[in-house]
Structures are given as C-alpha cells and as structure tokens.
Subunit: 615 residues, 2 copies
C-alpha cells in the first residue's frame, strides 16, 4: 500500500484530553479519531491492527471449540427483564424505546441473548457442552469515558458463553478458556497478571481476571510478596491481625480495662473530629456504619431484629431473598469497610450506606453516634479487627455522647464476625501471612463460572439420559478488544511512538525511499513487489516529504521493520538498503537483492516467536 | 469441521411468518434464528456465508481504492442536527437518550459521521479524492419488519462515502463504484437489474439502484419492451399521451366543446362515485388534489397566491427554501399523482396531501370538489395528461357541484405543466416511446452523487492550489449485506434447500459417511484431511443419523459438493466415493485416492468462474 493512497493523518500535537500513551499515540499516528466523548472511529491504520487482534482472538476461540455467532446488538428489554438485569444493571445500560414504545437495550454484554438463543434449541444432554461466542459492538453508558479507547462508551468485546451438564464439564471449558486467554495475550506480546477475582480466603476458583498493570488502572490489585496470591482489592482477603485465639485473648485482656463509661463529645461526629477532640489515633475507635442491603440470600431467621422479615422470590426460578435488610457493620477506626466483600458475606445483590433518617430510626441517634454497645434493633456484623479491641472509643447511640473503655466480649458481642475490611498494602496475605502490596491494573479479560445465575431464571433446560429435565450450568468469558489493543501500545512504545509486536502491527514493513523518483523509486517499487510476493504487508512511503518527516512518522506508527532506500547506497557495485527494526538503535546495510528475503525472514521469525509462545 | 462439533440446528418445520424462500431456508438450515421481531442472530453456518460475502465486498472496495474505517454505531444527535436529518429522517431513526440526557442516534446510515470525520482532517485539495467505507451494524426502526433478514431492523450495511474537488473526479469514482458493485453481484452469482433512479426524462445519471427481481419486492420497477430503459416507479417518467403540439390541438379541439356549465352532484365526492353518478369513465374527469409541500426550493416569486411567501435558510450553508407551500395538482382521473416526482418537480423535501381544513380554506369547498377552473389562491400544477383534455368533468369549488365541458386552454390554464403521473404498465417509454412494463424488485445496492447535500451544511472545506476555500462534492454508496445474502438464496434454491454458489457457500464440500465407523470412518477422515490440505472447506457429517437425514440436511444447507462414503463402494479392488454437485441429478463414482483432487479441482473451477466473471 502506498502512503499517498491511504488515509493516515499523523499529527505532532497531542490532544489535551490524551493523558496516557496509548491514547496519545493512537491519535497522533492516525489510528483513531474521536467522534464524540467516548465514541471513537478507527481509521485505516488503526483498523488493520484491530482486525488482526480480532483474528487472533477468533483463532484461539475456534481452537478450543467455541463457535462464532452474530446476535443483534440491539436486543429486546424483555430478555433483560427475565434475567432481572433490566432493573439491576443500573445507569450504564443504554435503554432505547422504539417507535412503537417497546423497550430495547444496546447490549453491554449478552448473557440474555445467548441464553435465549440456546433455550430455543436445547433439548438433549447430547447437545452439551456448547460454547458460543461473538466479536461484536457493545455499549456502556460510562458517565466519565476517558483514556481513549481504553474506557470508551462504544467498544468491541469478544464474549463467549458456555453451557454444561455438570461442574466437571464447566470446569474443563473454563480451564481451556483460561489457557486460550493466556495464548491470546502471549501472541499480543502482553504481560498479563492473572487475578483470582474471588477472595482467596473463600477458596473460590470460579472467576479469574486478566489484568495489565497500569497507572491509570480502574482496579487496585493486591499481591503477596511471599507467595503468588493476587486478587482484586474488591475481593481481596487478608489474615486477621491476630490469631484465631484472639477472641479469648481479647476477653482476658479486657479484664484490666476500666468499666465502660460515657463521655460528652459535643458536635463531634467523624473519626477525624473524634481523634482531634480526644487527642488519640483512629485505631482506638470502633467505627460503626449502618448499611441497607438489597436481596439478601443469607438466612436471617435467628438474627436480631429480623424475626419480622420474610423471604421472597423476585422471579420464578431465582433464589428466595429478603428484599431489604439493615445491618450495622463495625470495624477498627483506621480501616475501611469493603462493600463488595460485605455484600458477598451477606449474599446480597447490593449494599449501600443507609439514609440518615434510617440511621436515626435504627440507632436512636443522629448520624455519627452509632456503636455496637446496646445496638439491638438490627444485626451487628463485626470485622475481625474489632474482636481484638478491648479498650476502645465508640458511639453511645445518643447525640453528642460516646463510650470509652468499650471491650469486645465484655461490653458487646456480634451477630456475625467476618472479614469485611478493604485490604491495603502492608496487610497480611490470607494464604501465607506474607506482606501484601498494591498495584493499579486494567482488566482486559474475565472468565467466570456463572452456574445457574442466568439459566435458572431464564428457564433453560435439557433432558438427561433418563429423560429427566435439568438446568445447565453456564460460564461466561469476555475480552475487551479495544482495551487490549490500547494495552499493547501501553506496553510497547517509546518517546517516538508505538513499537508494534509483529502480530498486531498494521504493516510489517515500511519502505522509505529518500526521494520517490528515478532509480530510488524503481528500487522501492521492486522491493515492495518482492515483499508482497513473500506475503509481507508493506507500506511504501511515497510522499513528497523530507526524510525526517518520513522517519518520524514510521517511528510514530510503530511499524516493526523499516527499509530505507537512498541514492547513495544504490550507486556503486552492489546496491544496498538500510534495514532497521523499530526497536533497534542501529541500521544494517543489506544488499538490495537480498533485502526482501531478509525482511520476510525477520517478519516470519517474530511471528513464530509470538505465536509459538502460545502453544 | 465435524457436524457434531458445530451448532447447526436444522429443522423440518417452517416458521409461520416465513413466507419467502430465503427466510424459510435460512431458518430451516440453521443459518439464523430470530431473537425478536426484525432482530436476527446468525448462527455458525449462516455467519460463515455472511463473512464470505463481507469479504467479497471488502475486496472489491479495496480494489477501487476505497479505505475501510470503523466509526461508532451510536453517534451524537448533534451531527444529525447539523445535516438537518434529525428532523427530516422520521420515525425509522432510532433515537436514544443517554444517562446525562444527551441525544444519540443508532446509525441507519452514516453520511454525518463520515462527513464529520473528514471535516476535521481535510485541509488541502491534495488529500482529495478520498473514499472511505465501513461494513458495520445499522438500525432502521422498521414499523413492519418481515421476510427475515431481507427487511430486518438491525442489519449490516457496507456504506462508502467519497469526497471530490470536482464533477469529473466524483463521476470517475461513481463509475468505478458501479463497476465494483457489478463485480460483487457477479461474484455472488446474482442477476441484478441496474436502474437509473433519476427519471430518464430528466437525463440524470447521479443515482443508480441495483435491484433483484422479487415477488415480495418493495419497489416497482418500470422497463421498456423496446429499449433498455429501466427505472424505479418512484422516479419513472413516461412520454405524454400526445405530442408536444397537444396544447394547440386541445385548444382547437375545444372549439367544438359546449360551453362550461355547472351540474349538481349531491353527496358525490370520489371519482368512483362520480363515474357511477354520471355513468362515464374516470378518464373524462380532471382529478385535482391539494398538496402541502415542505422546504420548497423552486422559485415561486411569480406563482399565484405566493407573493407573500418568503424563503428561509433552514441551516447555515443549506439552500434557501419556502418552509411550507400549498399547491393544487391536476391529473386525468384514471391516473395517479406520483408524490416523489411531484416533490422532485417542486424541489421540495416532502409533499403530502393537505389536511381537510386546508383544502376547505384554499378551495372554498369541502374535500371532493376541487378543480382547476377558477382556482386562484394557490399555484396549479398540471400533468401533461390534462393538457389534452378538452371536454372534461371537474370540481366546481362548491359543495355538491361539478363542472362539465371543461377544456384546458379555454376554461383554465396552468402555472406549471409537468410529468407528475405514476407510470404503469402500458405507458410509453420516455426515451423511445416503446411500451413499458412492470416488475417487483428489491434494492440491494444504491450509488448516489450527493453533491453538496452534506458537505455544505456541515461546512466541509478544502483549499485549492491558489489557497481558495471550496466545498467538496460527495458521493455515497451502499450495499445491504444481509439482503444480498438472502437474495443469493432466493435466486439459488430448489424444493430441497439452498444451492450455494461456491463463493458464498458456508462449506464447499460435505463428506457423508453412511455410518461413521470402521473403514468408512477411516476413509472419511482421510478424505477430509486431504481436502483441508488442498485448502477446501469441508463439513464432515459424523452424526449417528440415517443416511437419508444426512442427505436431506446436506441439500437443505446447500453445500455445493457432496462426497458419500459407504462400505459397498469401499470394498473390492479400488475403493470409490460417490460425488455429486448439489445442483446435479446424478452421482459420479470417483476413486477414493483421487477424490480430494477431483473435488478441490471443482471447487477451484467454480470459484474461478464466479470470481473471474468479475474482471
């Protein structure tokens, strides 16, 4: 392809909103343009890389027997109502009313569409396992799209869904997907961190996230310095600060604590204000937060204040839940409650801080004076950290009053003790007790055992060998294509531009004639023709620009191999070409006659290394 | 690919709503499934053909230098407001409000997006011509989707847009697109009728539709029995019934007509009622309809009743128009006014029958009594047919009264005489006067010279050699991918199923072992391996089904070549395979050892014939 015949609007300026390298370089190299906030167009150069990445993903999906289909992007709301996500998904779901007033969804993900399609076809166990995928447009109505295609509103996702008769079959495909994902990332030259998305403490293995380290990552990842524990902070567990014997220890230690007594704390509500007022540290307080939990599956029949609650079934086939329950969560004052972990403990679909009016009603005091001592109207959940506190300050359930000398086991107990704290650097690994540390990461892929989550409410079924009806288990497996592409650039660039790994490079070789005329033109044309004959993808920079401009653009576009043809090297007995890898510092002079084979050999070798690393 | 490892849910039953062959066969062969009304999923078999078709289109676009890009599917309403189509497009435009209340469009077509992208990059004439395309999801909120993917709500369209410095460049690319479209349809084995979408009488050549004949076609096509005139009825012209001298003839003939006089026609409003009341034929009446036209560009400064009207500019850069004008259109009673042609004559964006209240206000009589005699408040447009009427009935602008003996030129004139009739079979060709006939057709593609329609209101500009600013001309070029695929099936099927042309067949060869075990299994596996080595796409029907079921499914899926392996033909000295083309009646027995080469040869030959016919 001649540069003059394509459309690669390279730029020197950096758009003001492009704060990360991939955004800057995709924009500057003419790969993408912004049509609106979070909405991008891939221009010819960007689309070439994009399609190669799609093809890598497609090959690896096909290799493990997943079958490509193409459902519509716009799907009827009914399906999302069946699964319960029409209500549960929130504002990121782009909802559309058509001309007849019917509701539709611009798919952000496609569990419902795939489940619905399979539901209509599935009859026998012999059809299972079945794994289907699509590589298709998705939309998430991000409130704050940024970082270019790394977090856009419209994007392309490969999403696969699998259907199984049992755990073993689901696990086998889940593992195969994990291996396929690793091959995909290897082929792209990406260093990916695999993270158990379940808390290690829970021993789960039904969810794995594939992350790349990134300063602007959405996710905080927790790693152990000692073992290979890695988890998303949303789910990360940690060892309690004390041994399992701490209950007893705390109780015996409390023997020396002065009796519980109230103190005046006028207009003092926050931990910070209390610390200042009492001239002490936050770790001496028991912070107590009132939460409203929605759709709680945990059995509360014996929980304080819950005797009047009744479980309901939100949809046929769905598990029975309490629609709304209030809880108190107590934690050491210097720690934070992790709401994701809290929701997991409660088996709730959502937990949020209760409204001020609910706090007053349930604690008998305004916000700021809650505490576990004497709190009897709602179940009190206590983080492990609190069980080790035997001389603490905490709210006295009265305006402007706190307790001092509160001791766990002596002055208050717990309905449930659990790990609900947000893990942070310096905490102890839940597996080995080693020191934990943090990194920021971006999620590129996620594989997930769904179990019956969609198949049950959407009434998927098959008959087994005996003619008995069962609900299949499901798995789902996603990769964000745009985000992977941007991440490749994040990992492979320098100050001058992108340094594409051969597998996703838009062109494999750029041929730069110093001046596209006369003998130089002939040599460039011949070299390009020879390269194309070898199956190499070549960009010929035939523009009437200064060599410096062409070199800069070649570096910016990140084409892995560059061949420069100038009059000087052509003259004399054996005409030569300057060959340089994008990542290399030095040129090599290669005989023109051998240049095509030399370059084609390098292309093949790099492809083999990247693709071969996958097998 | 083994049948057991893919997902091809073939069916015997025909869904009730599948009234055309392609819908029936795509459904029965497991190519597609319906997710909702007008929303279809392509299953693995269907997607294979779909991708091949996309690739054919892609190759032909690339071959003429059009460059593929991928803009978002969801685009901001602002762009559609700039072009004026946010208001003009109507209810088929799927509009979405995001969580912040901003308006978006799920693209039905992408003039705005492409124009906006190019606008930001275009500076110099040296960047032109530029041709860009996408093959991407589109949405039209069809009120009555039907015929499967032939008229769905979501579909995939290849849409290209080109930008030029002048007419010659636009015309060159327009012609190249026309040739590319013909190659695409040839490669698909489709018989396509090319139709000038402009009226031939106007001599236009800025729009060409590519149609396939179809009983359920949306379009009525008009052809001449004598010459190669072909037009969409929406635009088709015809020769006036009389020579250009008819005005004078009518006037002189009117000399013998009795004087104009009024007759009572109580409660008689329609042509049918008048015919019955007066015991005469519709061709003796002058039908007069009152139209409301929107955004009229035609100069009306001298038109009756229009002196008070003022032109306005709806958007900066758009041409000046009269926002709303009422007209009377008179035509012979047995003919129909063609509103598309009427709009073209008036250079209006839209014409509709006026409301009853407007008719009363403008004609001074209730609906049913309008006529050209004495109608002075609005301009009267007269079809050629009326100029030949010298003794006609027509409305008298009074309730329950009509005129008799009305003669054109004597009793009434016209502000404008034009061809505004809907052409029908039996009318005369506008080019040669030959007899016209009708066919129903479906539009597969459309190429169109847009001129300044989008580039002007959206302020696209470039600087020429002298540094002067100009607005580029544009062209747009669409092909409905799903519709082309369905049309291939419409043209290539029999009672048993699809008969794929080799170019878009999901698999090229199906290998059917009578029973997939023992020596038959070995022979089938070997043949498949050899075929794949030859680059042939094979489906191996390894199912434990009766041979009849496998044969029927192979016919239904329409795989071009079939190889049957049975024990009988394997035993003896030289093992043989039964080979049959889908379209052929008879088997051929071929030596097993030669079967792969034989089949691969046939595949290559048919591909060459179809693809070669393109060059």
């Amino acid at each position: 392809m001649k540069f003059s015949q394509t459309f690669i609007p390279t730029l020197r300026e950096v758009p003001a909103d492009a704060v990360i390298a991939s955004h800057r370089l995709m924009f500057r190299s003419g790969m993408i343009r912004k049509l609106a906030n979070g909405l991008f167009a891939y221009l010819p150069l960007g689309l070439r890389s994009f399609r190669k990445l799609e093809q890598i993903i497609r090959e690896e999906m096909n290799a493990i027997g997943s079958l490509e289909i193409k459902p519509p992007v716009v799907v009827p709301a009914e399906l999302w109502q069946e699964s319960g996500r029409w209500d549960a998904y929130g504002d990121a779901l782009l909802r559309v009313k058509n001309r007849l007033g019917a509701d539709f969804v611009v798919s952000p993900t496609a569990e419902e569409a795939f489940t619905s399609l399979v539901r209509d076809e599935l009859s026998s166990y012999r059809q299972l396992p079945l794994s289907l995928y699509q590589i298709n447009t998705k939309y998430r109505d991000e409130i704050r799209p940024r970082y270019g295609v790394m977090r856009g509103r419209e994007f392309v996702m490969k999403d696969a869904y699998s259907f199984h008769t049992g755990d073993a079959s689901l696990d086998e495909h889940y593992q195969a997907m994990g291996r396929a994902y690793r091959r995909i990332f290897n082929r792209c030259g990406l260093s990916v961190i695999s993270v158990q998305a379940d808390s290690g403490a829970m021993g789960g293995s039904g969810s794995e996230e594939f992350m790349v380290e990134s300063e602007i990552g959405d996710n905080t990842l927790i790693f152990c310095k000692n073992c290979d524990y890695a988890a998303n902070v949303e789910k990360a567990g940690c060892k309690p600060d004390f041994s399992p014997r701490m209950d007893a220890l705390a109780r015996s230690a409390a023997a020396g604590t002065p009796p519980l007594s109230k103190i005046d704390t006028p207009e003092v509500r926050t931990i910070e204000e209390l610390c200042a007022f009492l001239k002490t540290g936050a770790e001496t307080f028991i912070k107590t937060l009132i939460y409203r939990a929605v759709n709680v599956e945990l059995d509360l029949s014996a929980a304080p204040g819950c005797s009047g609650l009744k479980k309901e079934r939100p949809a046929p086939g769905a598990p029975e839940v309490y629609p709304e329950v209030f809880f108190a969560a107590a934690i050491r004052g210097d720690l934070d409650v992790n709401e994701t972990k809290l929701a997991a403990v409660l088996k709730a679909s959502e937990v949020n801080l209760a409204a001020d009016s609910d706090v007053e009603r349930l604690t008998g005091a305004p916000v700021g004076f809650a505490g576990p001592v004497g709190l009897s109207r709602i179940p009190v959940l206590i983080d492990h950290s609190v069980t080790a506190m035997n001389d603490a300050f905490t709210g006295a359930l009265e305006k402007d009053r706190h307790y001092q000398h509160a001791a766990y086991g002596r002055d208050f107990g717990a309905w449930l003790i659990a790990d609900i704290r947000t893990v942070r650097a310096g905490d102890r690994c839940p597996l080995c007790g080693g020191e934990l540390y943090e990194k920021k990461g971006n999620e590129l892929g996620h594989i997930f055992k769904l179990g019956l989550k969609y198949s049950k409410p959407m009434k998927l079924s098959y008959l087994d060998e005996k003619g008995e009806s069962h609900t299949p288990l499901m798995g789902c497996y996603g990769i964000g294509v745009d985000r992977v592409l941007a991440s490749i650039i994040e990992e492979h660039h320098d100050d001058n531009g992108i340094i594409w790994p051969m597998t996703t490079a838009p062109y494999q070789v750029v041929v730069i004639p110093i001046k596209y005329e006369g003998a130089v033109k002939d040599a460039a044309d011949t070299l390009c023709a020879e390269l194309e004959k070898e199956g190499v993808e070549v960009l010929l920079d035939d523009r009437n620009e200064r060599p410096g401009v062409k070199f800069n653009d070649a570096d910016l576009m990140g084409i892995p191999l560059r061949a420069v043809i100038g009059e000087k090297n052509l003259s004399g007995g054996s005409p030569r070409v300057e060959i340089k890898a994008r990542a290399a510092k030095e040129n090599r002079l290669v005989e023109l006659a051998r240049a095509a084979l030399d370059l084609a050999g390098q292309v093949r070798q790099e492809l083999e290394i990247l693709n071969g690393a996958s097998s």
